[in-house]
Symmetry: C2
Subunit: 298 residues, 2 copies
């Protein structure tokens, strides 16, 4: 610890941070880096120039860049905040243009796929400078219009570093996340992907499947609207947007999603057997216990 404080300049501060993808997550991180002075400069790139423009106007970044290659060559902190399906091409570009001393993080919700892309596509000297990350800080609405440094306050930031990561890189990344408000924690990429298959990806599969099931039963939107209650509406809410993003997440984490679905099917058989059993006391106990668990969570 004494060694750190004696290092000039402060290694928790970067010279030039490049945010790739200026949406809700990228914009919020840029905002946090500026607000907490974690980088002398924060520049943003977005394939959607309207997004980059809004982020600039809202003060989430300090400048926009149009040449990604040039920006990569100038940045000592690179934050990938793009949909899961877009990271592979960006990793290729990182390998071509990033500085050997750059610190690289991503923010995607599937970690093994990104880790494999880095292992396969990055030159050896950059592999140790990547920390795969997943901020658990969502918002009901996407886009730079809703980005804000405050979204990260007290939220978890999961880091899934590989064995080969440079210790100093990992330390700088953890310190950066904490400075902008996150509580950092570390797990393996596999642990992360299993956990998020259970907590998010598999439930989203169920939401889409509910719509598919109803479509197969021949019910049209008007019927649904007239006769379905709050439960159906709430349970399918998350099938109502971002189908492209979910396609990419489902495919990237398909092994863990299949495992999670197999577990879910076993739980479903157990509940269904209780429903069809004459012993209604056991069903009541089970449902009361699950209700209690839900109530004590939120």
């Amino acid at each position: 610890m004494t060694r750190e404080t004696s290092l000039p300049p402060d290694t928790s501060v970067f010279d030039c941070a490049l945010i790739i993808g200026c949406g809700l997550i990228g914009g919020s991180i840029g905002h946090g880096l500026i607000r907490h002075r974690v980088s002398s400069q924060v520049v943003g790139y977005d394939a959607n120039t309207a997004h980059a423009h809004i982020a600039l106007q809202r003060g989430l970044i300090e400048a926009t860049v149009t040449s990604l290659d040039t920006a990569l060559a100038n940045a000592d902190l690179i934050v990938l905040a793009v949909p899961v399906g877009r990271t592979e091409q960006l990793v290729v570009e990182l390998g071509r243009s990033a500085r050997p001393e750059a610190v690289i993080v991503d923010t995607g919700s599937v970690k093994q796929a990104f880790t494999q892309q880095c292992a396969q596509l990055l030159p050896a000297n950059l592999k140790s400078r990547v920390v795969p990350c997943h901020p658990i800080a969502g918002h009901v609405q996407a886009g730079p219009e809703h980005a804000d440094a405050g979204l990260m306050e007290g939220r978890p930031m999961i880091m899934t570093p590989e064995q080969e990561v440079d210790t100093e890189v990992l330390r700088r990344v953890a310190r950066m996340w904490r400075k902008i408000g996150f509580n950092t924690l570390t797990m393996s990429a596999q642990e992360h992907d299993a956990m998020y298959a259970d907590l998010s990806h598999m439930p989203h599969v169920l939401a889409f499947t509910l719509m598919h099931h109803i479509h197969d039963r021949g019910m049209c939107p008007d019927t649904l609207n007239a006769f379905a209650g709050n439960a159906f509406r709430d349970m399918t809410h998350h099938a109502g947007r971002n189908s492209r993003m979910w396609r990419d997440i489902f495919y990237a984490n398909r092994a863990e999603i299949s495992r999670s679905l197999a577990d879910f099917r076993r739980s479903l058989v157990e509940i269904e057997n209780l429903i069809n059993s004459e012993d209604q006391e056991r069903l009541e106990q089970m449902l009361a216990q699950l209700q209690q668990a839900r109530m004590s969570t939120w």
Copy 2:
């Protein structure tokens, strides 16, 4: 039609309506009967006397009764608005004490089970005077505190009359529902139960199963609270209350729920196969189509 208008008194008006169960649904119906002068008197009974008291204070009923037998003997309109698990005992009491000329409706969300109870437990002269009904007018919160005649405005009221129902009884019931704001429609009890297995009961099974699955994976409420996103919270919301009520509905409609679950599992296999396929175009098309269906519904 001319015959109706010549009948004194107006057959759309009852002398004494008895609401059994003064919660959200019973209270709202009582309120509507009073507001639209569909019954000269509206009295309420609730095994929970606090509920009956609140309903009286809020003007949802005009008097409370403590003896159900006496009240049944006085009523020419009887509205059962109790949980599905409580109707069987009430049908026995109806058979014992209801007047032969009474008009009887229920409001439960499972229709075949109630119909069977009436067929088995009512005397022959009362069987033709029952119209099983299901008001599609919920509210996020239960109880007489939230009851209001306005909840029924423009909402569907499904009626599932058996062949043997008295035509005049059915006509009076339909007219009563329309007077207090409902749009009435008729289907068979089996059609109703299949539809609500798909639209409500089976999705509730999935919500409880999601909590069960997570519990089996060893996740405690703190972990869920910290790491689960909006989707998991929204999809399990309806597993957070009324476990006793849902036990009764699940058991009462178990045959249709099992059929619905079997269909759902087939839809799930189809989606899972698309996720695991190399042809990601087909998955994207499917998810985009389902997203579009959800967006055009609500």
